[in-house]
Assembly symmetry: C2
Homo-oligomer: 414 residues x 2
């Protein structure tokens, strides 16, 4: 008999009908003999509705009170699921964050979990009940309601699985697994059977929105095996996310990700002296703008171009900050490109195989796509291209690395 | 500087616009120097919506989980009001039942308050904050969410006022006070300036829905002065509900109430022997049916008719139970009248003045209204009439006892 944590997102509990289906699934799993702990998100749309109400009251709603407000969404869905399970003869009990408790720090809206007390969960499991945990929420040391950030019900699920030493944490979602690329863009995208935490982290960080980044980090730290599965079809096998194993190493590349919401800024001809980067990026970080890729080209005349990318919604603020700096850093001007796309190739296999970057450049050259920026990490190569070539580049790279006859390739094919 | 508890019902916080108006009112009261504790209901319609969701999942939703579900309504409205108060420069903090805590027994859906811890309230008041309490909810000894019954935010408010030793508990509602009768039926109904707890209890019990019965009982027990006021117009004076004082004794009758949702049953010709009433009313009580008036006429031949009234929605169940008993109690038959009306005249003044009943009968005889049942208590006389005469009887009694020139009458006018 295994202890399994199952997490159902907002779409999976988005209607009375969907809640009934989730209850049927959970009851079947319970009947099969497993101990089941379920973590639920708010019903689809509910969290946005609640944030919307707060937004109608003022521009910057108090963070503590906003947490009290939006935590009600998961309270509703967890009670509804427990009600339905009871009605179909599968005793269940909902537990809110303060009832465990899920201890967090006091950073409202983005609290971090400090610990979870599991006594009530184990008591309920011993009395043959399914336990339903309201995701996304915690309590600080004063007993005040906190929330963990948007999409953080995944995090609650992984943290529960770690605290309970569950045998797996199953994430049920509206896709049926992790794909080698977005199937809407790459018709030849395939579902992965297994993927490593590190690869998943790179892909999540690149905008593949199947799993929340922090949950994958937490799963890796506590070695919680994750399964991403369809909440609409129990028959479909999902994708396992876990530690690397030998079979994975034979796979050169696991996925190709595309981020089309990037903008590029270039500060041209700045004086190349120590402290320059801090001068430029200090104010940008203080403004809460996330900078993704940064490139600095050393030059012969003591001047250099600094190029970096930001999310498109931050472009105008970033431009304003950078323009205010131009004279201070002795720059000749600021250029920007509003719409660029970042395409990334991810795979732990590239650790031991040189040449992934070289093959990428060749593939894109064949397609006549100009590469504007390049950044590499141990298991990832990212390139920035003009936004209009983003999808083309992704498809070309996907098919070059990931069509069935191309992967499992040794270095000789490079 | 006084400590005042203000309770706002569902209509008063039923929209973003209404919440803004409540916040303005509270901020003005705070600026005038009082310490303010606010108790809120869920936004109008929200509790019904949540019960409706549970009802879509099964016929008899689990009581513990239903409480978790519906308690979210007050959580939302209390956070929204706190957000708005903060936004207009009046620092506020919401507190949920488990954060005080409001201790209750474990009878989900109809829990009774056992005690309230006030430390967090006093701490917040000391730090110059308005405190917003989510009404209607509590926690049992295991920390499980409980609710106090429909309309019980009034009860939360009175209990808070008693625990905090507040100088008053102001109930803001969509009417502007307690009237001598329902103004929709009696055009000459007047708003009362003052009314005693006992009179209010009789009127609340008779279906005058301004205040919840249990809250008036609690207010009387702890001598909490209540004020019923309009949440739409700060200028309007409301009605004070408090202990009797001498000025009240000069008023013979304070109000006339009408309940049109009654049905009448008669068990005819039962054998008149000890234990009969228990045999009849035991099963009815067990079925949770509330019996209001009971009349038994002793008869010469050792047989008697037992007549009683129940709420109309309980009629068919009551009939079924009573018919099953007919042979056992040796009855000759069961008659019923689906639609009867109960009209009651209430006033502490009638304690010391005989003849209220006599005057009632004369007034109704003048109107050719047949009286089917009569019941009297110390400060109330109720009569049952055919439903079609209910409103006529109420108007006639109101105008006979309560038109301006009739009240303040000594016994000589009877």
């Amino acid at each position: 008999m295994a202890l399994v944590v199952k997490k159902f997102g907002g779409t999976s509990v988005g209607s009375i009908d969907r809640i009934k289906k989730v209850a049927d699934h959970v009851a079947r799993a319970r009947a099969a003999g497993d101990d089941i702990v379920v973590v639920v998100s708010a019903m689809a749309g509910e969290t946005n509705r609640l944030f919307g109400l707060a937004g109608e009251l003022c521009e910057a709603p108090d963070a503590r009170e906003t947490d009290v407000l939006v935590a009600s969404g998961e309270q509703v869905s967890s009670a509804l699921l427990a009600i339905r399970l009871g009605a179909i003869g599968c005793p269940a009990v909902s537990l809110l964050a303060h009832q465990l408790p899920v201890h967090t720090d006091a950073h409202h809206g983005r609290a971090r979990i400090k610990g979870i007390e599991c006594r009530r969960v184990f008591d309920a499991l011993r009395s043959q009940r399914v336990v339903i945990i309201a995701g996304y929420q915690g309590v600080d040391e004063h007993g005040d309601v906190t929330t963990l950030g948007r999409g953080a019900s995944d995090l609650t699920a992984v943290a529960m699985a770690a605290a309970l030493k569950a045998s797996a944490c199953e994430i049920y979602t509206d896709v049926d697994g992790v794909y080698t690329a977005d199937p809407n863009i790459c018709p030849r995208a395939r579902k992965l059977k297994r993927v490593s935490y590190d690869e998943m982290l790179e892909m999540a960080g690149l905008g593949a929105k199947v799993l929340q980044l922090r949950s994958v980090e937490l799963a890796r730290r506590y070695n919680v095996p994750l399964v991403v599965r369809s909440s609409f079809d129990d028959e479909l096998e999902g994708t396992w996310v876990g530690q690397e194993d030998r079979s994975m190493e034979n796979v050169l590349v696991s996925g190709v990700a595309l981020d089309q919401n990037q903008s590029k800024l270039t500060i041209a001809g700045v004086e190349d002296r120590p402290g320059l980067a801090a001068r430029i990026f200090g104010p940008i970080a203080e403004a809460g703008i996330v900078v993704d890729m940064i490139i600095q080209n050393a030059s012969a005349d003591g001047r250099t171009d600094v190029t970096f990318t930001v999310g498109r919604s931050d472009l105008s603020r970033a431009l304003e900050l950078v323009r205010a700096l131009t004279s201070e850093v002795g720059a000749r001007g600021v250029r920007h490109e509003e719409q660029v796309a970042k395409v990334s190739v991810v795979g732990i296999g590239m650790r031991s195989h040189a040449g992934v970057a070289a093959k990428m450049f060749r593939v894109l050259a064949d397609e006549r796509v100009n590469i504007e920026m390049i950044a590499t990490s141990e298991i990832k190569v990212s390139i920035v291209v003009n936004a209009k070539y983003g999808e083309l580049a992704m498809r070309a790279l996907h098919d070059a690395f990931l069509s069935d006859d191309q992967n499992n390739a040794g270095p000789e094919t490079l």
